[in-house]
Subunit: 329 residues, 2 copies
């Protein structure tokens, strides 16, 4: 098949987005609608919010279907006539994997299988997939390139995303599909609704005098602003045409969790007393150093506009103005 899809992002096309009411999915959907595309959004509101659909709902080219990816009977017919799928829905709750060991496998791997089957049945050939730096486990190489050595999984979340990537690749080989697999660092920005900035803000808005940090605060992590992430996804899909296209998406710097805590406190103009749970990991399976080599993406001309500090500040502003998000979890 012809994978030269330069037109894909230029023409008006029909996209299917899973997780359209979530943080990244809803931002991506708004951008596609701005470009004039038709979008069918699918979400079960397990972690997404109706409020994140408000922009999209003003657009006549948007159709929302409430549903679960495990409901194949509902899902499958919806993909009829779609040009491509953005599969963004996930259980992104990496920290609590041990409390419900089936959830990651079900929500990330089996759900991805259901999406792929729906695509196969409806002859939809293109998929973009939100994968994760967590699939590198505790990487041995920093910054970590896409073709680093075979990793050892350290979390059920990472394992389930690795499983989903493998399924997508096998479907591409077996059924002539084309895939874009994006391995994200933690993404920040408007509509952010879980992760350490969320946890810190939730604590500080309740009691600005105290902040408890998981681990020793010296964990090193990279972060990326959500609009920079979406820019990269679109650019990659316009400019790469292999059967399987894999890209790390992160920032070319990292910070310590302590830096992040300081920036958040500065932004809120508070000086809480800090306490630490201790140890070099925030939780079992946490990776103390996440730093991706994004030169493959940068070679396409992509440059993130927001620094890690900028992204954190944007996120704090969003959470301050939208404290209802903090109260939902």
């Amino acid at each position: 098949m012809d994978f030269s899809n330069k037109q894909l992002m230029e023409d008006t096309l029909r996209y299917f987005i899973t997780g359209c009411a979530g943080f990244i999915g809803s931002n991506l959907m708004d951008r596609l609608l701005q470009q004039g595309h038709e979008v069918i959004g699918y979400d079960n509101f397990s972690t997404g919010f109706k409020q994140f659909l408000q922009n999209a709902e003003k657009n006549p080219k948007f159709t929302f279907i409430e549903g679960d990816l495990l409901d194949r009977e509902k899902l499958t017919p919806l993909l009829k006539g779609c040009d491509a799928v953005f599969h963004i829905a996930a259980n992104a709750d990496i920290r609590f994997g041990r409390e419900h060991p089936f959830k990651d496998l079900e929500q990330n791997a089996i759900a991805t299988y259901n999406v792929l089957e729906a695509m196969r049945i409806n002859n939809v050939k293109r998929i973009a997939f939100a994968s994760t730096s967590a699939m590198y486990g505790e990487a041995k190489e920093f910054p970590t390139p896409e073709d680093t050595t075979l990793p050892i999984q350290t979390s059920l979340y990472g394992a389930s995303k690795l499983a989903a990537e493998g399924l997508i690749q096998a479907y591409c080989e077996g059924f002539g599909m084309q895939s874009y697999i994006f391995r994200f660092v933690s993404i920040l920005g408007e509509r952010y609704s879980h992760g350490h900035v969320f946890d810190f803000c939730k604590q500080l808005f309740t009691n600005p005098k105290k902040l408890h940090i998981l681990g020793n605060g010296k964990q090193r992590k990279s972060y990326l602003y959500v609009q920079d992430c979406i820019d990269a996804i679109f650019l990659a899909m316009e400019n790469t045409h292999d059967k399987i296209n894999i890209f790390n998406l992160g920032f070319d710097k990292y910070c310590e969790i302590n830096d992040s805590a300081n920036w958040i406190c500065e932004q809120l103009d508070i000086k809480p007393e800090l306490s630490y749970s201790g140890g070099d990991r925030g939780w079992v399976g946490d990776n103390p150093f996440v730093f991706l080599d994004c030169s493959r993406m940068r070679a396409l001309g992509w440059t993130p506009k927001f620094s890690i500090q900028d992204s954190i500040i944007q996120t704090v502003k969003f959470l301050k103005d939208n404290q209802w998000v903090l109260n939902q979890r």
Copy 2:
């Protein structure tokens, strides 16, 4: 926890084997019983045979339970009091993955999850897992070492085994288990019951004048004799004590499918007319070159006793003497 399990293979222990009526599972089980261990075998006879249990059934230390790994209610209580699990059951039908896209995910990844959960619930801490060279997809490095670059999956089978490996690793990290992951080339020998030698013999026993070969016959593959494979498994479990222990298991040479066809025909003393389906692959997702770097295993003192040619001849002898196996498929 203490992972120094030198005693594990020396004392009399209670082992649980999944796929105990299959080719590799039944051979492994017979060896464990010979060593004086207690063995609980589990199989659903989806691809296993009652006949392969005949040796074991003479041994009072053997208990057989007919059951499916998807039946968690049946499976879970059986692991109570077991010292370790040999998880050998699988859908090993790599070639036909596209005809039933859920089967590999279900039988290999979800079934492995069920085994891991049964272990977690019963506090069983050790697992040996039969993985596959197919998880390397079309490797970029030959011979392929365990820590080669992150592969692209080319089959649903490979993807499902990669998923199972990731789950096992995440359970080791999350729940303090210890794992031995063995990535096999194709295994040959007594009780062999699927694969190219099976297909060739089935054709030749029906009509010794013709042999149809998938691909161009130039696919290069490595093979290992089943008892050499089991020797390696035991040696690795006696001598390595990390949380996660991964070993390639193959022979340090490879052959062409054409070589294999010649050896089979010589052994049967026939000269059939050969025909080819053509192309450099036997089927979609077939890997034209499989050759593993087994130096990690060899460093423990392991040397396979049977050459590839020996293994093929042993297999042909077995199939000739047990043509009922050919008629079951």
